[in-house]
């Protein structure tokens, strides 16, 4: 068996298709070993998982809640809940997707408690046609962000994404910033793939429309 696992793809062509497919299957994700160790009581393994995903969870929470203190609390709560519910993680999805799902739920719950946002559900916001039809057809400068300092640019990006409904900015955050696949985003949010695609299109177009006022070419060609 040891020889087979070291076989090259070329060698596999001589094997029956079902066996070759098994051998070519992706190796288990390294997180699974850490999860199993953590389930067995190894807290250092869980700490390694926290180290790997704290940035992603914090940013996801901050994008959804738009509040730094909330994002800090949520990050702590997400990992603590994950630790307590490790036995419920069956490995059917990536561990990171499972964490993101908890983070999204915690973040939306936090928004509901704050009640400063009109819409706090992934199921809302979908009736609006705002931004789904492009209106601004101005070209942008080649590297538009270079006309702003780091802090100016960060402020523009924060302000712009904050203007999106939570359901849209959550999809954009997971899919385009955190680089989850469409399927992983759907799983994390409890949405269908077509629903994710629809929200993603609107989120992208709305952000594009709003950023255009900062990044468009001017007649003078300057900022």
């Amino acid at each position: 068996m040891a020889v087979q696992t070291q076989s090259t793809t070329e060698d596999l062509t001589d094997l029956p298709p079902e066996i070759a497919a098994t051998l070519q299957a992706e190796p288990p994700h390294p997180d699974l070993e850490l999860v199993e160790r953590a389930k067995a009581g190894d807290t250092s393994a869980f700490e390694q998982l926290v180290r790997q995903y704290d940035r992603q969870i914090f940013r996801t929470a901050q994008h959804i809640t738009q509040n730094r203190e909330d994002a800090e609390d949520i990050t702590q709560d997400v990992f603590f809940k994950a630790f307590q519910k490790l036995d419920q993680f069956q490995g059917n999805s990536k561990f990171s997707t499972w964490l993101v799902r908890i983070a999204v739920n915690e973040s939306l719950m936090r928004l509901r408690k704050r009640k400063t946002s009109k819409t706090v559900s992934m199921d809302q916001d979908v009736q609006t046609d705002e931004g789904s039809i492009p209106r601004d057809f101005a070209e942008w400068r080649p590297n538009p962000e270079q006309n702003y300092s780091q802090s100016e640019l960060a402020e523009i990006l924060r302000k712009t994404i904050a203007g999106l409904p939570p359901g849209f900015r959550t999809v954009f955050t997971l899919r385009d910033i955190e680089n989850l696949s469409t399927e992983e985003t759907a799983e994390a949010l409890g949405l269908s793939v077509p629903a994710v695609k629809s929200r993603l299109l609107r989120a992208r177009l709305q952000l594009r429309e709003r950023l255009s006022r900062y990044f468009r070419k001017t007649k003078e060609g300057s900022k």
């Binding site: 807290t43 869980f46 800090e72 492009p134 924060r158 910033i177 299109l201 992208r204």
Partner: protein, 81 residues
């Protein structure tokens, strides 16, 4: 293909998920002849790139360490109960 049809395929086009060669050819043909859609594609791509390249929220190592320490304290306390 008109602009509305093109827009409906935009997400799949960006994500490289238009498998049907005929449909992909139609999308590309529209893109080659419609300046408005060309601008929308270019500026939408830049929108995604600018967010990917410039995280607006800082997450310094000090914050990471503080949060991790707090999480692990809670986890260990829950185990010892």
């Amino acid at each position: 293909m008109n602009c509305t049809d093109f827009l409906a395929k935009l997400t799949d086009y960006f994500d490289g998920q238009i498998i049907d060669a005929e449909l992909l050819a139609e999308v590309k043909e529209h893109l080659g002849t419609c300046h408005h859609c060309e601008v929308v594609v270019d500026t939408t791509r830049k929108t995604i790139d600018v967010y990917r390249g410039h995280q607006p929220y800082e997450f310094p190592e000090e914050l990471s360490e503080r949060l991790r320490a707090a999480v692990m304290t809670r986890c260990k306390a829950s185990v010892s109960k």
